[in-house]
Symmetry: C2
Subunit: 261 residues, 2 copies
């Protein structure tokens, strides 16, 4: 989702729920694996297990696509692969540009799973003039100055941002100005984009924090017998204090009272 007011107004046509769309690639992957093993048909139960969801959800998801599948039998693997691919727009070729060729950008450029499904790394772009011309994953890095031209010449509509956070918004603006309408953002920043541009973000740090939350909860729950309490290096860290004057507080602990720097 993008920032602020990104709403999908009309789209009255035929709406596949967003949650379903997000699972289609999962089904597709499982189906592709079956296809490679020449499995002709699969039941919702089997496919659901392979995709890691429950079968009711899978059937409901497929029902939004149409009535593929045969009662009493299951789904034809090849047929479904095709239908889902088409639905996701993978029957066409999507040139992608990666901006910011550091460690992560290079890793993505080298990532095989890219090409496997309709995506093609059409350009690598970096702001460092020293990198211009250097081949990464067999593609010469180009300089940011030419971003506009590169995007339009290659008909790129999907951009991947792997720059440092400080540069992300600016790069994003330039990509959008050049015609990009979908952005995959790896920089830990909130991008703001005009209406009609989709942004998805991938944020390592956020994922880890979510895991930490659950991890902490687990530890707290077992706090009876043996606790494996992570490590808790130093709980001495000046409890950055400052409180709302009076009134209620959080459910659990408030902060110790001390003054911070």
């Amino acid at each position: 989702m993008a920032t602020g007011r990104t709403h999908r107004p009309a789209t009255r046509s035929r709406g596949i729920p967003e949650a379903t769309v997000a699972r289609l690639p999962l089904y597709l992957r499982a189906l592709t694996a079956l296809s490679e093993r020449s499995v002709p048909t699969v039941s919702s139960e089997e496919l659901a297990a392979a995709a890691g969801v429950n079968s009711a959800k899978l059937r409901k998801d497929f029902s939004y696509l149409g009535s593929y599948g045969t009662r009493g039998v299951g789904y034809d693997v090849e047929y479904l692969v095709y239908q889902i691919s088409r639905e996701l727009g993978l029957t066409q070729d999507w040139p992608v540009a990666i901006v910011g060729i550091g460690n992560l950008g290079a890793a993505l450029a080298n990532y095989g799973g890219f090409a496997s499904r309709g995506f093609r790394v059409a350009a690598l772009i970096d702001a460092d003039p020293a990198m211009a011309g250097t081949p990464v994953a067999g593609i010469a890095v180009q300089h940011t100055d030419d971003l506009d031209r590169i995007i339009s010449e290659n008909g790129v509509s999907i951009g991947v941002i792997t720059t440092p956070p400080g540069a992300a918004q600016q790069v994003c603006d330039r990509l959008v100005a050049a015609g990009v309408t979908s952005i995959l953002n790896f920089a830990p920043t909130v991008l703001s984009v005009p209406d009609g541009v989709d942004v998805r973000k991938v944020d390592l740090s956020i994922e880890l924090q979510i895991l930490a939350f659950h991890e902490q909860r687990k530890a707290g729950e077992e706090a009876a017998a043996d606790g494996r309490a992570p490590v808790d290096t130093d709980a001495d860290e000046a409890p950055p204090m400052r409180a709302t004057p009076t009134g209620r507080k959080g459910p659990d602990g408030d902060m110790p009272a001390v003054m911070p720097a």
Copy 2:
């Protein structure tokens, strides 16, 4: 399956909705930025804008944490930073192990955002004996054979998997056996884990496919005049056919009739 007693019926005790948990890191980041600029207080409106959500949602989210904030004024930045950090479990130190030191693993090891918030790369593990000892991001890579020992010696409870897909499940099993209870999976595979272990996945290819879906939709919507199909490089690809005998079909196109391999 470890599990043992009482599965975890999600969030029983004091339940912060999952959707809220997923946004806390976002708020935290925005608050940290404000804190660095020494901004003392912030309104829900301002903070929401910085985090890319709307203010009603933000207020609701915060209401699950407790009643921090002062009516007519806003939220105390430092105080909120502390409360959210605590809620997320970031006041303690989380040693993390990265398994699979290829391009991506190395990129993550070098990723700065890691350390910034309570996470510490405690170990790098790879199956390639040739890599053992090689320093990556200042840390010597260790061999998979010692995985068990490495995990327990370092008290690692969060593991990051950046191996090729084929190795992911096996690595996952070993991590879990060694005591890891949270896994961040970058391999394009569905991992199965015992109850009580959390898995989050980050999948580039899935994100791109979701973007492609919306991209395709946008293109289709603009096709007011004649047929749609924006670019469609080559539609020649053998339409992998095979159909459900009779009956209905999808809402849009069916497949051309041809036989596949």
